[in-house]
């Protein structure tokens, strides 16, 4: 039997859809925290980066990556963490933003880099109204703030531009 040598693409296919433990509708590649995959012979190095310094999901994500690869018969794995360049919401994919909205979380409202945006409002993910306000800068996780819609009265999390 001829086995194909393992490629970075193979590994990427296996792990790209691993969900974020706290927001399971988006994947680590949607979020932009999956930074690199390198394959040398049988040895695989996956590099990830935290969203916020204290992100508690990183240990769970590391374990998920290891479990997923081990299930596919790959067990010579290193999951490395890099801090630089610093993660920014600009790295979130368009698909990721759509999935957040469908889930009920307002996606980042503008880009972090670039010209100063004319920020109008954050739309309620439930009813679409622009009549919303921030209740607290800090939400259920470091990356989110807590908002409320004044029309449908539902509270919602908003992903902070970072």
């Amino acid at each position: 039997m001829v086995t194909q040598p393992l490629t970075a693409g193979d590994v990427l296919e296996l792990i790209a859809d691993i969900p974020d433990p706290e927001i399971p509708v988006i994947s680590i590649s949607d979020l932009g925290i999956l930074r690199n995959v390198a394959v040398e012979g049988d040895h695989v190095t996956v590099t990830i980066t935290p969203t916020y310094s204290g992100c508690p999901a990183l240990d769970a994500i590391t374990q998920d990556i290891e479990t997923t690869l081990e299930a596919a018969g790959i067990d010579d794995i290193d999951v490395a963490m890099t801090l630089s360049p610093a993660w920014t919401t600009d790295w979130m994919s368009a698909a990721g933003k759509r999935k957040l909205l469908a889930y009920g979380i307002a996606p980042p409202s503008h880009t972090a880099e670039g010209p100063v945006p004319l920020k109008l409002t954050i739309r309620c993910p439930q009813c679409g109204s622009g009549n919303t306000g921030e209740l607290s800068r800090f939400g259920s996780t470091s990356c989110k703030s807590l908002w409320q819609c004044r029309d449908c009265r539902e509270p919602f999390d908003s992903f902070k531009v970072h």
Partner: protein
């Protein structure tokens, strides 16, 4: 290249203040503040872990050093006091961290540069949060103003120890702090007799008590794993 001792100073600052933030949980004035302080403490914990990773094993450093081996500034080991005190402390400390991000001590070290490039965004939230409270309490009722002024007076002697690691950062950092104080219609405290020693490992009993609690489980079960 920044020395191991200097990196330890920054890591210890972050971990001790993170612990103090955690002590506010279930005790903050309102639930949103519980959440805010939990987030701030978590950011600081993450920064501490990233910094410890540059110099050694985080668990050995956090759980198995005695007080004289710690290098945090005295400001962060003081007990939380009242809410005004904690916000005054956060105002000074976050301004310090913001200014540090641009300092020579960070720029000259690639490891530190990477950590601070990330943490500076979080420090902005911390500084903004403390500013909002100092403004509201200072420019508030007679009672809140008095409490906020007393808090600033208590903090002031400890500023010296904070900036011992980066004296050039003191002026720009404190200028920002003083700007907030004035906007809050409070008075910038007079230059006080400076307290020092934290950065040399000379600490108050407060750190001993804090470590006693923080390290208790790890020390009772040394070598344990999950």
């Amino acid at each position: 290249m920044t020395s191991r001792d200097q990196i330890l100073q920054l890591a210890d600052d972050a971990l001790i203040l993170s612990h103090r933030c955690a002590e506010w949980l279930t005790r903050a004035p309102e639930i949103e503040e519980d959440v805010a302080l939990a987030n701030i403490g978590l950011d600081l914990l993450g920064q501490a872990r990233s910094l410890y990773a540059l110099v050694g094993d985080e668990d050995r450093l956090a759980y198995f050093r005695d007080a004289p081996e710690w290098r945090n500034c005295r400001l962060v080991e003081l007990p939380n006091g009242d809410f005004a005190f904690s916000m005054a402390r956060l105002l000074v400390f976050s301004s310090f961290q913001l200014t540090l991000a641009e300092s020579a001590i960070v720029a000259s070290d690639p490891g530190l540069s990477a950590v601070f490039a990330k943490s500076v965004k979080e420090s902005r939230y911390h500084f903004d949060h403390a500013t909002q409270w100092v403004l509201r309490l200072g420019d508030g009722t007679a009672f809140s103003r008095q409490r906020m002024q007393v808090a600033l007076e208590s903090i002031w002697p400890h500023v010296e120890d904070v900036f011992a690691i980066a004296p050039d950062s003191r002026s720009p950092a404190m200028a920002k702090v003083e700007g907030v104080i004035r906007r809050a219609t409070l008075t910038v405290p007079d230059t006080a007799k400076p307290e020092w020693g934290g950065r040399q490992g000379i600490h108050t009993d407060h750190l001993v008590d804090l470590l006693d609690e923080m390290q208790s489980v790890a020390r009772q079960h040394e070598g344990a794993t999950w």
